[in-house]
């Protein structure tokens, strides 16, 4: 339903997208992951026909998005990244009714649909309040409601949960999941990596305009190479910073280790050297008469994979 093939786009000397491909099938949620400036928003804008690619092509429902006929726009929903896409001098309800009418609904249909959506996104109480008085999170929820006005076949969401509290963000993901379950293809651009687990079907990770990874969430996790661990250590003679010299002696150059700031006296942060293996380090500690009570990664494996691929890993 959504297909980008070899899309490249420059803005002056800056390469925003370089040979990016993306396919989203019916009923599928594909997360577009990447740090700021990775090219997520540009790709979303290419897919909506708001930006013309220099090379390659983008097709939605089999139609080239640059031509973007009205029939195609009628079946697409967009949640843009910024707040500046609503009429701030009129109410949330009037915003939805206006855009509903531009989607071809009659005033009565648009009003009924607007009320339904305001209830879905939890804005019933603020329906008649000027949207300029809304918080960023409320404006984002209104923007999401607008994208749902006509039950789109293709939904493109750019940083939907950026301004939302965890509860509202979860509710939005549930809404989007529901739409995908009814057959819509969803592109979910985000830099909040923790939200893609159990939500996105596949991930495309962009780094400085290039695809750094494309595959399932479990494939992404497999790319993770965790290097930082939090250890809980016990030694009958010393604890906390007093134990640090003995620990350093035990592990040598294979890692660095330090007591966790603000932690209790048993927690230490271990940072493995590039060629070191965790098992060897733990064995050295045990041999030095230190009990390893617990060991866990400092980051989730998904975060670790993200940082490795996006170039932010240590």
């Amino acid at each position: 339903m959504v297909e980008a093939r070899g899309v490249s786009r420059r803005f002056g000397a800056r390469v925003a997208l370089a040979d990016v491909s993306l396919v989203v099938d019916e009923g599928e949620i594909v997360a577009l992951l990447g740090p700021n400036g990775a090219g997520k928003t540009t790709l979303v804008r290419v897919l909506t026909g708001l930006v013309k690619p220099d090379d390659g092509s983008a097709r939605v429902l089999g139609i080239d998005t640059w031509d973007c006929p009205r029939e195609l726009r009628a079946r697409m929903g967009l949640v843009p990244s910024g707040d500046r896409s609503l009429y701030l001098r009129i109410s949330g309800l009037e915003n939805l009714v206006f855009f509903g009418r531009l989607h071809g609904l009659s005033r009565r249909e648009a009003t009924a649909r607007a009320w339904e959506l305001l209830e879905l996104v939890g804005l019933m109480e603020a329906a008649r309040v000027r949207s300029g008085f809304y918080s960023h999170g409320m404006q984002k929820r209104l923007s999401i409601a607008r994208a749902f006005l006509t039950e789109p076949s293709v939904l493109l969401i750019d940083e939907a949960t950026h301004d939302l509290d965890p509860e509202a963000a979860a509710a939005m993901r549930e809404l989007v999941r529901g739409l995908a379950d009814r057959g819509a293809a969803v592109v979910w651009a985000t830099q909040r990596i923790e939200e893609i687990r159990g939500f996105a079907d596949r991930v495309t990770l962009l780094r400085t305009g290039e695809v750094a990874f494309s595959g399932s969430v479990s494939d992404l996790i497999a790319v993770a190479v965790p290097r930082r661990y939090v250890l809980r250590l016990r030694n009958g003679r010393a604890a906390g910073r007093e134990l640090e010299p003995a620990l350093r002696d035990a592990i040598g150059r294979r890692a660095t280790i330090a007591a966790v700031e603000d932690g209790d006296a048993e927690h230490y942060l271990l940072h493995l050297a590039a060629d070191a293996v965790l098992g060897d380090v733990l064995a050295s500690l045990t041999a030095a008469d230190v009990d390893v009570v617990a060991c866990r990664e400092e980051r989730s494996e998904i975060e670790s994979a993200y940082l490795n691929l996006a170039g932010g890993g240590e």
Partner: protein
């Protein structure tokens, strides 16, 4: 999956215009103070010209239908039309600029609405409100200052105004397209409209100008509109002369509107291609 089946077609495009008018009415209503200020400004301007008129020798003014008119009677149509030109041109030109500035233009373009509908819709409220305001202004100052307007001239004058509206609209649309591309274009619009109004005979008789400027000014579309409205209102000439004014204004309006729409669509496509539509 099935969508809510939004309507796409010429009929639905026309219905969307009503949505634009409602939106702009609600937005205008949310700015009550500027709305009232605009009216007060017009009334103050009428007072100013009333007092200026006391110093003007009516013999220096052209006669209409053989009758000498007062300066305020002479200038009232000019004030109304000049305000109409300035306001309409400014609003049409800035309509798209505002959409771009507030970031709503891309949201509009993501709906199944044609660019022409968006352009017309964005200014339709003003194109209804401003002529209405012009007519109300003329009636109010005629009553307040006891001006001797011929009531039978209201309809012919309105027809001239209607023929003139697309001319201003076209200039505004062209200006909107220029602003879309160059971001800052409103200064040129203001300058252009001021020159056209200055040399239109709106505020003083054209025969006060040097001969060659007078000749140029006589083909100024605003001159034709001002004269076309003054004759029926002040001389009581009814429909005489309206046909001539309309015959000149309609083709000019058609050219202006076509050029404006072509310029605007070109600018829109260019900015979409560059990916700078949302930038201001």
């Amino acid at each position: 999956m099935t969508s809510l089946a939004p309507a796409v077609g010429p009929g639905s495009e026309l219905r969307k215009l009503a949505a634009f008018v409602r939106r702009d009415f609600l937005i205008a209503w949310s700015y009550r103070l500027p709305f009232i200020g605009e009216w007060l400004g017009l009334v103050l301007q009428a007072f100013m010209f009333y007092f200026v008129g006391l110093m003007v020798d009516p013999a220096k003014l052209p006669a209409f239908g053989g009758d000498q008119v007062s300066y305020l009677e002479f200038v009232a149509v000019g004030i109304a039309l000049a305000a109409f030109v300035a306001l309409a041109l400014g609003r049409v030109a800035s309509g798209m600029q505002e959409e771009q500035l507030t970031g709503t233009l891309e949201s509009l373009l993501m709906t199944p609405t044609s660019p022409t509908t968006i352009q017309i819709g964005s200014v339709l409220y003003d194109l209804i409100y401003i002529p209405l305001r012009t007519a109300v202004f003329l009636v109010v100052i005629a009553v307040a200052f006891g001006l001797d307007f011929d009531a039978s001239g209201l309809l012919p004058a309105s027809v001239v105004l209607l023929a003139f509206i697309p001319f201003v609209w076209g200039l505004g649309v062209a200006s909107a397209g220029t602003t879309l591309t160059f971001r800052r274009g409103s200064g040129f619009v203001g300058l252009g409209s001021s020159i056209l109004v200055l040399f239109s005979g709106a505020f003083f008789p054209l025969d006060l100008l040097p001969g060659w400027i007078e000749a140029l000014a006589s083909v100024n579309p605003i001159t034709i509109a001002v004269d076309g409205m003054r004759e029926p209102l002040l001389a009581g000439s009814g429909w005489d002369g309206v046909g001539r004014a309309v015959a000149v204004l309609v083709p000019l309006s058609a050219v202006s509107l076509t050029a404006g729409i072509v310029t605007f669509r070109w600018a829109l496509r260019r900015e979409r291609g560059r990916g700078t539509l949302g930038l201001y």
